[in-house]
């Protein structure tokens, strides 16, 4: 069984929001109609986005660290939003595990947004239906695009490569390997929704230098220490005299 998902590397994300704007640009321009964008240039802009980047400060100054945190639909393996939908507009595709909303069936009751612990769904004030990340389902299977472009818009836009896309059920896929080898984790695991999207944690690359590396303990002849300086009249040899 295929389960497409995003793996987001928090160690690499710089919080530039390129994924946010490219997602909005792609998904507001497709066959599904525009995404709401209310007061875009006024004091209180508000619109529908499938993906948002939040920023958190971890710790207290001076020991702080900034984490940029992109979040979109988790495409849960056991999505709590799907069974509650009264119309069947919300569904999970068997073939690739993408959770989708049929905008023509949605009645806009917002019940699915109550049933999503991640707040991944946003009600569209323009279309009056619930919308959410589609993993760019209208892109990733588009045969008219070159093969390397058949990826979600956000993945292609990320300048640092913080967003990986693939089948997490295929153990050899880069996403499954990243989750396995780099400590990939799921958000809010306590609710048992088994989100397909994973996050890779911040990693520190620290160099540890021990005392014996500065001063060689295994050098009884003190080869590294200052060599004797014979007088200029005496013969000198390499590695024996200091000149």
């Amino acid at each position: 069984m295929t389960q497409l998902a995003l793996v987001i590397d928090l160690n690499v994300c710089v919080g530039c929001s390129a994924c946010v704007t490219s997602c909005k640009a792609w998904n507001t321009s497709g066959a599904a109609g525009p995404l709401a964008d209310l007061n875009p240039y006024a004091a209180k802009p508000s619109g529908t986005f499938f993906n948002r980047v939040q920023t958190f400060e971890i710790g207290a100054y001076p020991a702080t660290e900034t984490v940029h945190f992109p979040k979109s639909c988790m495409h849960c393996e056991d999505p709590p939003c799907v069974p509650v939908c009264p119309t069947g507009a919300s569904y999970k595709r068997q073939e690739d595990g993408i959770v989708l909303v049929d905008y023509d069936k949605c009645i806009g009751c917002k019940y699915c947004s109550w049933a999503c612990p991640y707040g991944a769904r946003e009600f569209d004030e323009l279309g009056k239906v619930m919308k959410k990340c589609t993993l760019c389902v209208d892109r990733i299977y588009d045969k008219s695009l070159p093969e390397n472009e058949r990826k979600p818009s956000c993945v292609r836009a990320c300048p640092t490569g913080a967003r990986l896309f693939g089948d997490i059920h295929d153990p050899n896929s880069p996403v499954a390997q990243a989750i396995r080898e780099q400590g990939g984790y799921a958000l809010l695991p306590e609710w048992g929704a088994h989100p397909a999207n994973h996050y890779l944690p911040r990693r520190k690359t620290a160099m540890h230098i021990h005392e014996d590396e500065l001063e060689r303990a295994d050098n009884p002849l003190l080869i590294d220490s200052e060599l004797p300086s014979p007088s200029l009249s005496e013969p000198s040899f390499d590695d024996v005299a200091s000149w």
Partner: protein, 325 residues
């Protein structure tokens, strides 16, 4: 959660309608089993009409909650998994049964279908009344389970939610029945007042139990589990939206703790204490005025109670917006 007024109206109006129907059928069952003299069918017909009006008013209110009300018919399709879908099916079915029940009593076409060995005569209206009772309780369960089935909203995810919907709907329905009986069937006022006070008091116990439970709940999720970052001090610097978003609006009630405390007392006094006192104080002459007043005060109290019910649910997605109070 942000309480939607359309949903508050829907749940309180249909609750009163279901309760009123249950009250009507209670008095008819008592008569069937010869515990009370037979009731005036004008009262049962008028009561059914009032119950139907409340149910339809609730149904209309629910449409204002929908973004695409013209597609509402689709909501009947997922009854296998969705309690909301089940409610959408059961509500019109219950309306139809209440209408038939009222018509039977209005027209007087109420043939005797069977006689039990005990001598109880089962008429057509008794069959439809039993069916209506079954649907009324099913509807209570469906409405309550819409909220009680959401496992990560612990304030709702409890059997108390179901008990509260049944008891509070029943209480307002029986109070309304007492007010109606004061106008149409004065000899049954005492019967309904007794039931209304009893159900209101049991409802008070059940609702206080759920308030106490909510006050003691420990959140299972934290900002740390939401982000997967183990650090006691995490401060949000950007929430991903400049002017707010659906996520910052839909999941908060936006009122102060002071307002929440006040609305709690308004709900307790308005929905339970005052109606009980008014009903208990009603005598043969004052019953019409006091029972009617009790119903309206209880209904307003239940509006506050339902607002509190929605406002108290704390959605885990709010963890991603810790800056918003």
């Amino acid at each position: 959660m942000r309480p939607a007024f359309s949903v508050i109206l829907l749940t309180t109006l249909i609750g009163a309608g279901q309760g009123l129907f249950l009250a009507l059928f209670t008095v008819e069952s008592y008569a069937t089993f010869k515990l009370l003299p037979a009731s005036d069918s004008a009262f049962l017909a008028g009561g059914s009409l009032l119950a139907l009006a409340l149910l339809i008013a609730g149904l209309i209110a629910s449409f204002f909650h929908l973004g695409q009300p013209r597609r509402a018919w689709r909501a009947a399709s997922q009854w296998r998994t969705s309690w909301l879908s089940r409610e959408v099916i059961v509500l019109p079915a219950f309306c139809a049964i209440v209408a038939i029940y009222g018509l039977i009593h209005y027209s007087g076409v109420n043939p005797l279908l069977a006689t039990l060995p005990s001598g109880a005569a089962l008429s057509l209206s008794f069959v439809f009344g039993s069916l209506g009772t079954l649907l009324a309780f099913t509807l209570f369960v469906c409405t309550a389970m819409i909220y009680a089935c959401l496992r990560f909203l612990p304030e709702w995810h409890t059997p108390l939610t179901v008990f509260n919907y049944i008891l509070l709907g029943g209480a307002s329905g029986f109070t309304l029945a007492a007010a109606l009986a004061a106008a149409l069937l004065p000899e049954r006022v005492g019967f309904f007042v007794g039931w209304a006070v009893l159900i209101t008091l049991v409802g008070l116990i059940s609702r206080l139990a759920s308030l106490r439970r909510n006050a003691r709940l420990k959140p299972r999720s934290t900002l740390q589990t939401a982000l997967g970052i183990k650090h006691p001090r995490i401060v949000q610097k950007a929430q991903g939206a400049m002017g707010g978003s659906f996520n910052t609006r839909e999941f908060r009630h936006g009122q102060t703790a002071f307002f929440l405390r006040n609305i709690k007392w308004i709900a307790i006094v308005g929905a339970f204490v005052l109606p009980c006192l008014l009903l208990a104080a009603s005598g043969p002459e004052s019953a019409a005025a006091l029972a009617t007043l009790a119903f309206f005060i209880q209904y307003l109290g239940l509006l506050a109670e339902r607002w509190l019910f929605f406002a108290q649910a704390n959605h885990p997605q709010n963890l991603y917006y810790p800056c918003i109070p």
